[in-house]
Amino acid sequence: MTDRQAALRDIAAGLLGGGQFATFIGFRAGLDPSRPVPHFVRDASGAGALVINPFCGAGLARHVLEALEDGPVGILTRGCDGLGLERLIADGRVARERLHIVAVACRGAVDPARARAILGRIPERAEVDAQAVTLIAGEERRSVPRDSCLLSRCLNCVDPSPRLADSWLDEPLPAGVRDFKAVSHMEQQPPEARYAFWARQFRRCIRCYACRNVCPACSCRSCSLDDPELQERATSLADQFGFQFTRAYHVAGRCVACGECQRACPMSIPLSLLNEKFLKDIRDSFGIADPHRPSAVEPLACYRPDDPESWRGDAR
């Protein structure tokens, strides 16, 4: 752990010291030890503030967009960040050659709220391995199953390591295969139950647009959701359905399943469950095995002559 942190600081200092890089993006300790915050190091001397620990939950990819305005960027990159960067590169928003990707294998990030609920106080440290999470505060150590306190996106993670890397802090972990269990479960609910579920979720949306602003696939310079003629500001349930549909559809075939939208949502709306529905259907309908991994042409911008028409007759 500390080895990685030391190596990270060295690399960041080296990049910034070399003069070619304007910013290094990583994490630094926050006011709350369980919530490190994204950090933008501007010179080699600042690299000592960088931390890596299992509380580093925020996605970093989206931050490169603005940071690149100052010059090339070095960035600490986990699997999810890496996919986000791939998305931004595929969308022509970020030039690969202006990035130095410091890859790290990730075993999952702790959800600070869940960890605190388990421990009854703010954890100071955590250790995550393939089996369990150990939460530490003062003298107290508690080991709990991973699924009780990791961020939900980490539980579904199949890309612990980035596919793009310029330097590695450790050995990459193997990629897995997405199982879409939660989507399948939802699909099996009766339609009325699904509707009731989503209505309940969408009703509490406050339209803060954190989901959009944090999303590496939502990097449009100008978002149609901000155009009142395309998306009214009203928050009737119909508007909420319209907004949620539009947001999810606009990332259909482009979502990298990093789960940042859901993590960022202050109202805990399970947005990944929407995004993953599209991903699952893209996999099942168009034979794209790993639709969350960006490809040269996104699935909705291409076709095959023999694409299924299974929607025909669905109704009857």
Partner: protein, 338 residues
Amino acid sequence: MTMNLLPSERLAEFRECLAAGARLYGPVEVDGIVLFEELGGRPPAIRPGNPANSLKSFLCPQTEAVFDFEGGYTDVALRVPAAPTAQAIFGVRPCDAVALERVSRVLLAEPFADESYRQRREMTTILTMACREAGPHCFCRSVGVSPADGRGSDVVLYPADGHYLLEAVTARGLSVLQSAGAFLDPARDEAARATCQSTPVPLIGAVEREDLAARLEAVALHPHWDELARRCLGCGACTFLCPTCYCFALFDTVRGARGRRSRGWDSCQFKDYSLMAGGHDPLPTKASRIRRRFLHKLSRFPAVQGEYACVGCGRCGGTCPVGLHLAGVLSELEEVLR
């Protein structure tokens, strides 16, 4: 002030009594998060700290009609919505109630009192649950709010072992206690209140300083705001959840010959917030908008109202996707100043 004791086991009956004449809202746990919602008979989820949403949802709804209109270009008829009905909100934390008092200073300021807010405020009974334990992000004491603060409340409930001490703060609160007299014991328990008054809440030095406003104005042009802007995503979560943020926008929607002018929450963190038609924008950068938010809360609102536009509820810190906690930011600025 009138005080009564309510045995813990009669709390549900007390709530039913409240619900008799009004829609009753309170914190409930839904899909893993605690929210203020209509209770509808559910027991409230009283947890340390605050629900995700604030009372704003019930007093300045996310969107509401200002008026409806109908007609063509040469004839228009306006119709204003019906007056709101009575509502009671149970399980409010003192900080949220104080926030209402702060917001009211602006929205009820004459000569242009915000009529829909005023009507709702008048129809709303706030039943506050004083805190015996701080939430994870609470810092009320640092901004001059106490865990037993009664400002903005109609009734404050101080939890004690086996009972609650109920204190009517307003005339409306008094009538609540009178109507619920059957459950109440006209005894007093000063200890209950004292316990809450001494509930430990983390103190955050950077916020507590008496010269906070002056120090902030002094760093108003510091480049650290640009660093904060790098981190900030420009979403409106902090402002939409903040109980003291009251900015709103007006917008029209049209359905054929009918339409509606509505108001809805707006956020100074949005990039088109202050953008003028001609392209001029006094807040052109994310950094300028973040600075606006902090200075408004901690310097400019206090300059006029004498109190912070922050009650230390901790929502911004708890929900900001990138951890831009108000207190954390101030600590950073302090660090920068040194």
